[in-house]
């Protein structure tokens, strides 16, 4: 391997995504603009205009639905396809998300988490991507701009190994428009890590013509679904291997699907996804200095869900405070709900409380983490939560 000398650039999360797509040598990009995703596709258009990429096909489609349809067409043809969207756009794509996964096409998409309307909002909220939970896509939640960049490059490798599409999720504005140092990987090393896609089938091979998207009767449909389910199971291993390889080559290890710290001596941990975990990590270190026995568990991959890693964490702590920047109406925070489901079959069941935070871009600060830590301490002492779901920020 060539010696790794990172190229440090100060970029927004969106530019990190665009550079990652460029370094992954994407071949077809089909996209439609939506706030706050726009600067991703603007940057890619710039790469093309400036001749920084060779013959990249950019399809400026007339809707997100068509963006994903065009990605499906391109990916089925054999190309490496990429797109990006947000909220309403992601929801419009919904039908096509099922299609991309069902057709087993390794498309990678960046979703900039944005609250669903109404009321109209352009700010951070995870409900848009989590509402796509059952489409068959893998989902990776980035904490910072570096993880956006790394995530896109790794996602292609994982997706093309298991033939399942992957969504890299970043926070509106908090990441998408906030500049930070990102260590980028020299092109030849990205190429080493991520060789060109080798599709199993293409739509250019007339000698072996294939039909994609055929009808399956009840006699066959079931097995197609089982195969996709197995692919997600396989992805758990592939994600760890790819994350490990990435760490060995570039020094940032992603072999854990849940990044965790202080688990072994923590009374309770904060669990959550995405940029809010950056705040949590900082707060945890501060609070530990004040004597709190706490840690954190940052869920990187929501699909496939890291069940074993979560059960392992649960076996070591007395409580989990689940922070959800999302909500499933008629139920509870989505990560909380998932975690409870996974832990039902665990030997050790910690006390759990769900804090609904930051919806629609409401600020979530270190001070909020401190308040939740104080509350959670009481929950642990009592052995059960006062309320299972706490609308923490609510103006009273």
């Amino acid at each position: 391997m060539t010696e790794y000398k990172p190229i440090r650039k100060v970029v927004s999360g969106n530019y990190a995504a665009a550079y990652a797509a460029k370094h992954a040598r994407v071949q077809v990009v089909a996209a439609y603009p939506i706030t706050p995703q726009t600067s991703i596709i603007e940057k890619i258009a710039e790469f093309i205009a400036n001749g920084e990429v060779e013959n990249l096909q950019y399809v400026p489609v007339e809707s997100e639905h068509s963006a994903m349809a065009a990605c499906i067409g391109a990916s089925a043809t054999g190309a490496r396809a990429f797109t990006a969207t947000s909220a309403q756009g992601l929801a419009l794509m919904h039908e096509m998300l099922h299609w991309a996964a069902g057709a087993r096409l390794p498309i990678v998409m960046v979703d900039v988490n944005r609250a669903m309307a109404p009321p109209w909002s352009v700010w951070d909220d995870q409900t848009d991507s989590l509402a796509q939970r059952d489409t068959g896509w893998m989902q990776f939640y980035a904490e910072n701009n570096q993880e956006v960049y790394d995530g896109v490059i790794m996602a292609f490798k994982v997706a093309e190994t298991v033939n399942v599409p992957a969504m890299i999720v970043e926070s509106a504005f908090i990441l998408s428009h906030t500049y930070d140092v990102v260590e980028m990987i020299p092109q030849e090393l990205v190429d080493e890590f991520l060789p060109p896609r080798k599709p199993l089938y293409t739509l250019t091979d007339f000698d072996n013509p294939i039909s994609v998207g055929a009808l399956a009767t009840p006699n066959d449909y079931y097995e197609f679904r089982y195969k996709l389910a197995k692919a997600h199971e396989e992805a758990v291993k592939v994600i760890k291997d790819v994350g490990n390889e990435f760490g060995e080559m570039f020094g940032r290890d992603y072999s854990e699907m849940i990044e965790k710290e202080h688990i072994d001596d923590a009374d309770f941990v904060f669990m959550g996804m995405g940029s809010l975990m950056g705040t949590v990590k900082e707060a945890v270190e501060l609070l530990r200095k004040e004597g709190y026995k706490i840690g954190y568990a940052k869920v990187r991959w929501f699909r496939p869900f890291p069940k074993e890693e979560l059960r392992e964490i649960a076996s070591k702590v007395n409580g989990i405070a689940v922070l959800d920047r999302n909500f499933s109406f008629g139920q509870e925070g989505i990560l909380f709900n998932e975690a409870k489901g996974v832990l039902y079959s665990a030997k050790s069941k910690p006390v759990m409380k769900n804090y609904i935070v930051g919806l629609g871009g409401r600020d979530f600060t270190v001070d909020d983490v401190r308040k939740i830590a104080e509350d959670m301490k009481k929950v642990i002492e009592k052995g059960e939560p006062d309320v299972e779901v706490d609308w923490y920020h609510l103006k009273r």
């Binding site: 071949q27 077809v28 349809a69 067409g73 990916s75 739509l203 998207g213 009808l215």
Partner: protein, 331 residues
């Protein structure tokens, strides 16, 4: 004995064994269209296989590929209902990137094109993809069981436009997607019919050979949805042309002032001025076309509805720059 040469390639791209209804006019259209496409690719690129197909959900999709079988002897992708044009855009972009020369054929029915696929079609045409979009127009949602589409003609019975005490059946004029496509000023737009297969093949080849997008709207009989005799598909389609119900035209680069009109036959008198068709005097009344189809049966009890249909047909021809006279049947 002299063997007559086939007027079109004997290669098959839509193989027998598909599950289309007996007498399906759309099956004929797809068979001819793919043959024409292949010939055009051979003539243009020296490679009869320089194409791939993206198809919308619909009759012709459902009957063609039932896992693990497929009737398609060409690379084929189906990406739902509303987006054959968008999927074809992606396939075409990937072909370009991967250095494969050729053209993409997108196929959709009237529902998948005139209604739910309108936006994707407009996008594909506007972006100037190297795609031919073939709309097989059997004038209703036949796959789901004969519901009206915006391409259903005035007066027709469908399950969602049933005639009754308060209804004459479909009460809106037919939406002509070919004219909308032409407004995108794309290189080539044409209407065609299985009632004139030679004209259809010629137009498909022309569409396949132009650089950039093309749109062909082909009239296809549907004995199931039209309640018409299985063996009379081509005859009925030809009567649509001969009575003035179905115009055959070509519009290049959106030049609405120089629309090429094909002579309808059936004894119709065509008047030209400076090479352009300006008037057509049809000799066969539209009743000859209508009476062979159960979907128009109820109209014969309401002759004023048939007269209204005549007015709408005249108005449509007017858009094409042609004054037509439509005879009434002799009493």
């Amino acid at each position: 004995m002299a063997v007559r040469k086939s007027p079109i390639t004997t290669r098959e791209y839509w193989a027998p064994g598909h599950a289309a209804c007996a007498g399906c006019g759309c099956a004929t259209a797809l068979k001819l269209a793919t043959k024409a496409f292949s010939e055009a690719m051979e003539e243009k690129y020296g490679d009869p296989n320089a194409f791939a197909i993206a198809q919308a959900t619909g009759c012709m999709e459902v009957v063609s590929a039932v896992f693990p079988y497929t009737a398609w002897k060409a690379p084929w992708v189906h990406v739902a209902f509303e987006n054959a044009a968008a999927a074809a855009s992606g396939v075409e972009a990937a072909w370009k990137k991967l250095g494969r020369k050729g053209k993409i054929l997108a196929i959709g029915g009237d529902g998948g094109t005139a209604d739910i696929g309108m936006q994707a079609l407009s996008g594909m045409l506007e972006r100037r993809h190297n795609v031919v979009y073939l709309m097989y127009d059997n004038e209703a949602y036949m796959n789901t069981g004969i519901q009206r589409s915006s391409s259903t003609p005035y007066g027709a019975w469908t399950t969602t436009s049933p005639p009754g005490k308060y209804s004459i059946g479909e009460d809106k004029p037919k939406k002509w997607v070919a004219l909308i496509a032409a407004a995108h000023q794309v290189p080539y737009v044409a209407t065609a019919s299985i009632g004139n297969p030679f004209d259809f093949v010629k137009k498909m080849k022309k569409a396949a050979k132009v650089d950039g997008p093309a749109f062909v709207q082909v009239h296809c009989t549907c004995p199931t949805g039209w309640k018409s005799p299985l063996e009379k598909g081509v005859e009925i389609a030809r009567l649509a042309i001969e009575t003035g119900v179905w115009p055959l035209f070509e519009i290049e680069n959106g030049d609405f002032f120089n629309i090429k009109i094909q002579a309808p036959g059936g004894g119709a008198k065509v008047k030209r001025e400076g090479g352009r068709v300006v008037a057509i005097e049809f000799k066969k009344p539209i009743e000859e076309y209508l009476k062979l189809q159960g979907r128009f049966k109820h109209l014969f009890k309401q002759p004023e509805a048939i007269d209204e249909m005549r007015e709408q047909i005249k108005a449509m021809w007017k858009v094409l720059g042609v004054d037509v006279t439509l005879p009434k049947p002799e009493e």
